[in-house]
Amino acid sequence: MSTTTLAPTRRSFDYKTFLANNGALVGLVVLCIALVIATPDFLTGQNLLNIGIQVSTVAVLAFGMTFVIVAGGIDLSVGAVAALSAMASGWFFVSAGMPGWVALLGGLAVGLLAGIVNGAANAYGKLPSFIATLAMLSVARGLTLVISDGRPIKTAAEVSFLGGNIGPVPMPIVILVLAALVASFILNRTVLGRSMYAVGGNAEAARLSGLPVKRIIVTVFALAGLFAALAGLLLAGRLDSAQPQAAAGYELDAIAAVVIGGASLSGGLGKISGTFIGALVLVVIRNGLNLLNVSSFWQQVVIGLVIALAVGADVLRRKTRNS
């Protein structure tokens, strides 16, 4: 028999479960309170908008990553694909002379295509997702440099619009909210989303139940590519140009956000709300450390410790479930 069916004493159980399930949220709240006390610059309208803008790129990348991780894979290429998509969009606009909105859609299509290639290499080519997307990381970054010849390319006004403001509200925050709603809808309401959990939890059981596992995997990576392209265009829009080294290393932030948000790297678990909180934790820590004039070197140390802590919480969560 297994003891999992047994509920330990109610009081301690609830407290533990709450902490285990909402560790990231609790951490975020504690972090914010600490920063409000530590520096008067934190709780200002301008700083909060800054945080919102910064979180938008990471979070949009991480939403795509959430699909992949829930389905039991990993995507190391999202940062490079973001850069490639933005650069391609710039190239479509400047060199190919396409209309701005076509260039924008073209950029998204490049991300989607890169994702489909990732997914096909994983599902049909039998490459582990780690390897397939590591290869894509290199290819996409390389192509970005090839297209741009290592120089920034100006983006279309339609792309720059993504980095602008609607009234007082920065456009990236609007996009972030929309992306979160769409991602959450896909994951929670659609057959595709529910299938991702099954594939990540036990791909063989999912297959034998008649789920089209390979197609699901391709779609999952395609979505990750699409979200990466959106993040890349957001980034380019803010700078009015696509940078060849844009979003370098962002894949690690995205993975960290997903994991801090409570997803399991072994698949089958994860939520968009969690990922959003995870991305906020990362950005708020960086923002706070900047406000406190902590060197960026030390920031990396702190971020590393936070990731370790979050994964520790994941282990704790498993333990409370299995014992």
Binding site: T3, T4, L6, R189, N202, E204, L208, G210, L211, G268
Partner: protein
Amino acid sequence: MTVHPLITLQNVTKTFGQVTVIQDVTVSVYPGQVQVLLGENGAGKSTLIKMVAGVYQPDGGQILVDGTVTTLPTTRAAEEHGIATIHQELNLVATMSVAENVMLGRMPTKLGMVDRKELRRQARAALALIGLEIDVDTPVGELGIARQQLVEIAKALSINARVLILDEPTAALTRHETQALFAVMADLRRRGVGMLFISHHLDEIAEVGDTVTVIRDGHFIAEVPASTPEDELVKLMVGRSIEDQFPRRADETPALTEVLTVTNLTSAGHFDDISFTVRAGEVLGIAGLVGAGRTELIRAIAGADKYDSGSVAVRGAQLPKGDIQAAIRAGVGHVPEDRKGQGLVLDASVNDNLGYATLASSARFGLADFTGQRRRAEAVAAKLRIRMHTIDQPIRSLSGGNQQKAVFGRWIIAASTVLLLDEPTRGVDVGAKVEIYELMNSITAAGGAIVMVSSELPEILGMSDRILVMRDGRLAGELSAADATQDTVMTLAARSGAAQR
């Protein structure tokens, strides 16, 4: 009495939170004796074992080792007292050699390097303890499950284990392998090793056991000799008498409609030229030794694997090769052999697990039908009497029998009419087994057809209307339920196998 027990759990109690899982139970293991622990899934056997193994501490009562009150705070402490556990999930490193596995954690070294020669010598000595003759350089992963188990027993003995806890060691073994294990156990018994043995196979109890401790719902029920009749044991275990362990109710007048037609099905290296039909309302049993190609055949019919030639048709319509979705649409449901590895998404809820086969077909515009799914899942869970707190709990936390019912439930929701069952009651306790058999009856009564692969002969004999026997990937013969006996089936299954006893 002059023989003192090696270890005694005396009036132990264990609670988790507010739930008492073990209440005042006493069990002893004597040198040279096999103490059988009998109880349904969830009766508390695992908890008892874990107390002996140093994983859990009793909340009440005490543990006596050689008559002295002892605490076993860790598994390490238990090992130091000579207590070793052979778990169902073996603790071996598949990629390492037999020798390395046997000597894991105590590799002989010379100048800081592993002394390979000494390693092999000691490992061979350990294997000799149970008369196991295998190349110690073989990676453990290449051995069958039965031999892996023996390697683990050898390892335990080489650390001077005096008490061996065997947690369902026969669950994954063939009859032949089981016999080999029992021979080793008999030898250990002669040498004074005490054993605590758990099995769901009642017939094994009289064969290897000395005394049986029966527990039910965490309570000590009785201690009886192992020669106690099976009916009596079942009654003690489930608290009521189960009239009929195999309640097959075949249709008096079988329908003539052929539901499943398999023609000349061949898959190189797995099975060869298999043809048979199953009619509506019929249970076709497929018997054979492990490795005879039964699972591969079932998987090919279900569309899980491709095959080389031949055809599969459901109600006259041919199914495309290796297409699970097409098979499901034609009404085929597949209950795979390995429930945890292939049947269930363990971290997902009971509700989700019941709904995977119908996730897409019940959807509208790509949106999952949550309300409908929950309604269907709750209805089927009630019908199959799946015991759970809520339909949203992870299916991992259900007992084996209830998990298996959920795999069946998935196909009942999908309205499958051809069920392919691979070891449908493996690791399922007696009470739940009978429920699964009743479920098979209700499926056939409604015009469904069932193909059942099983290594448990009593189950094959008790539940099949017709029996196919496979040997080395071929059909060795067909028997009607009336003609089949353990002997006729085994003769067909093992006839040319000179290695078989």
